[in-house]
């Protein structure tokens, strides 16, 4: 997380530097071109040069003022229609303001004699204002054009990143996540169970097939209903119970309202698997896992808590890959609004707790107005 915010900072610095470079170059060229035109017509003198310098500085400052306004008012988020009429008015006002300021500045600072040509008549003032108005339009066109291009590129990059993360998760699902060790131990245990308790062996076969089916189905999807993922977690825990027997105790406490909330697939599964692999399994006496899912008071945020017996070891390399992938997918789907933290529980000794927070999005994109009832559970595919 710190990595991404520092790279955001670097991007902002680079962005600001580009802006100022373009501003200074642009307006210097504008002033220089003005001076050149005058020189070509043979009227060149130091007064006019001073005037052009004033023009460049004042226009630079007014256009910078425009940028401050549009950033503060959030114009970059506006639709084209809303933006255009705001620009039409504001640019007009600004052009007028810029010429008024220039008039005063030139009068006070440069004081050109009348023979050289000041801004004596009103018609000239109107002419300059209109010219400035068009120049500002050009400025706005370049500014927003560049911004939209950048935004477009960024959204393309984000889209590809998410795709890559999903693909990676998919590979992990097939290769490591439902790890072969788990799979073959499960099969071996079922083979023994066939002699001991054929009915339970049949149930376990069903858990295993549902688990495999789920992992094949969700591989490649970006989001899945929490209720659906929870079924997988239950199959998984049932099979682990076969291996760990009395060493595994677990409890699930899930608010029904959370079941339709969308999460990246294999997220809960990973948290539970890590809890077993790094928490319970290494202990000869085993331990317990509890998973709870609830909405916060406003109903806008989902909170999932997975606690397990054990001590947190941040350096465990295998869990590192899985967790990094989950964090990456959360970041790409929800930005900074989603958080996943894992740490030793300060309230209970010998307990590791993972907290997952994310904004509530449901399968049904448009929630029914006037209704606090969550999307019906039946909407997720089974």
């Amino acid at each position: 997380m710190t990595g991404s915010s520092s790279s955001d900072n670097r991007a902002a610095v680079r962005h600001r530097r580009t802006y100022w470079t373009l501003q200074v170059i642009g307006w210097t060229l504008y002033g220089g071109l003005g001076a050149l035109m005058i020189a070509l017509f043979g009227y060149f003198n130091t007064y006019l040069l001073a005037v052009e310098v004033c023009v460049a500085v004042v226009l630079l400052l007014t256009s910078h003022g425009l940028r401050l306004v549009l950033l503060r008012q959030g114009w970059k988020q506006l639709s084209a229609g809303q933006l255009l009429w705001r620009l039409a008015l504001t640019l007009g006002g600004l052009a007028l303001l810029a010429q008024a300021v220039l008039y005063v500045v030139i009068r006070v600072l440069v004081r050109p004699p009348a023979a050289v040509g000041g801004m004596e008549n009103g018609l000239q003032f109107v002419g300059y204002t209109i010219q400035t108005y068009f120049v500002f339009w050009l400025w706005a066109a370049l500014y927003f054009g560049w911004h939209y291009l950048r935004g477009y590129r960024q959204s393309e990059v984000d889209k590809w990143k998410l795709k890559a993360a999903v693909r990676e998760a998919e590979m992990r699902t097939l290769k490591a996540q439902l790890n072969p060790h788990f799979l073959f131990n499960g099969l071996n245990n079922i083979r023994a169970l066939v002699m001991e308790d054929p009915t339970r062996a049949r149930t376990m076969m069903t858990h295993l097939s549902d688990l495999l089916r789920y992992s094949i189905q969700v591989s490649g999807t970006e989001q899945v209903a929490l209720g659906h993922e929870l079924e997988l977690v239950e199959h998984y825990l049932q099979l682990e119970a076969l291996q760990l027997e009395e060493r595994l105790a677990y409890s699930l406490d899930v608010d029904p309202a959370t079941r339709s909330v969308l999460i990246p697939p294999m997220t809960l599964q990973l948290l539970v698997e890590n809890a077993i692999k790094h928490g319970l399994a290494p202990r000869p006496e085993g331990g317990c896992i509890s998973l709870s899912a609830a909405l916060d008071a406003t109903g806008a945020e989902l909170l999932v808590v997975v606690s397990n017996t054990g001590a947190y070891q941040p350096a465990a390399p295998e869990s590192g890959v899985g967790l990094r992938n989950v964090r990456e997918r959360l970041h790409l789907l929800f930005g900074a609004a989603a958080q996943l933290t894992i740490a030793n529980d300060l309230a209970q000794p010998d307990t590791v707790t993972a907290h997952l927070r994310l904004p509530v999005r449901r399968l049904d994109a448009g929630p029914p107005p006037f209704s606090a009832v969550p999307t019906p559970l039946a909407t997720y595919a089974s």
């Binding site: 799979l183 073959f184 245990n189 027997e245 000869p284």
Partner: protein, 240 residues
């Protein structure tokens, strides 16, 4: 032959017990759920063969073996362990993947029978000492070996560990040279000086060295300078 099963999953032990039932010469004398239990059973039951899972709570199967003075005949049983198995220098008797294939199990047991016959004939009647046919389990980073004592030409102090020389390898084992000296057969292994024990069967040449000491050249191995006191003992031993 007597077998000890070591696996943390009760069902996996049951399954293996069931499979072994088909072999009339195999008796399962005990089961252990983890390394500590296995160590106790090994002491008490002295099984001929150990069926050993690698991943267990507490110590792994490798760590169990590395802690033993002499490793028994081992057949590893594991669900899936590409890295550990690939890294393995296979002079382990065998390894079986769970769920275990009956014909693979039969082949593994056949190897154990062959081993038991050959080591019974080579057995030297010194029950408290390790024979040259005994093997130690050595894990060095990703690599594992079962090394016959007969193949080790030199033991050398390295901190609180002992470095052993065999083939081109020089791994460390977590035991002191003093401890090893007590367990090794003095007819084969000779304390050359404070730092080193040599295997007499690996001597390539001996030359007199300064102040009445000896210098011994080992086959494929380093030269060892024998201390003055031990040089005298060595001459005595060899003159017999």
């Amino acid at each position: 032959m007597n077998a000890l099963l070591v696996d943390d999953s009760r069902l996996a032990r049951n399954e293996l017990r069931h499979l072994l039932h088909a072999f009339s010469d195999v008796t399962v004398v005990g089961e252990a759920r983890h390394a500590e239990e296995a160590r106790a059973h090994l002491q008490a039951l002295q099984p001929d063969v150990l069926f050993l899972d690698i991943h267990m709570p507490g110590q792994t199967g490798f760590e169990l073996l590395a802690s033993l003075d002499a490793a028994p005949h081992v057949i590893f049983t594991t669900a899936y362990d590409e890295y550990a198995l690939q890294a393995f220098e296979f002079n382990a008797l065998d390894y079986l993947l769970k769920p275990i294939n009956e014909s693979r199990l039969a082949a593994a047991l056949e190897k154990v029978r062959a081993q038991l016959v050959s080591s019974a004939s080579a057995e030297e009647p010194a029950p408290t000492l390790l024979s040259t046919q005994d093997q130690v389990f050595v894990k060095d980073g990703e690599q594992c070996w079962f090394v016959r004592l007969a193949d080790i030409r030199l033991f050398e102090i390295n901190g609180s560990y002992t470095q052993i020389y065999f083939e081109q390898h020089r791994p460390l084992i977590p035991r002191t040279l003093q401890h090893l000296e007590q367990r090794l057969d003095p007819k084969v292994f000779f304390r050359a000086n404070r730092q080193q024990i040599i295997n007499l069967k690996w001597i390539a040449g001996i030359e007199p060295w300064f102040s009445n000491t000896l210098k011994i050249q080992l086959r494929d191995g380093p030269e060892v300078e024998v201390s003055r006191q031990q040089s005298a003992r060595f001459r005595e031993l060899m003159s017999l």
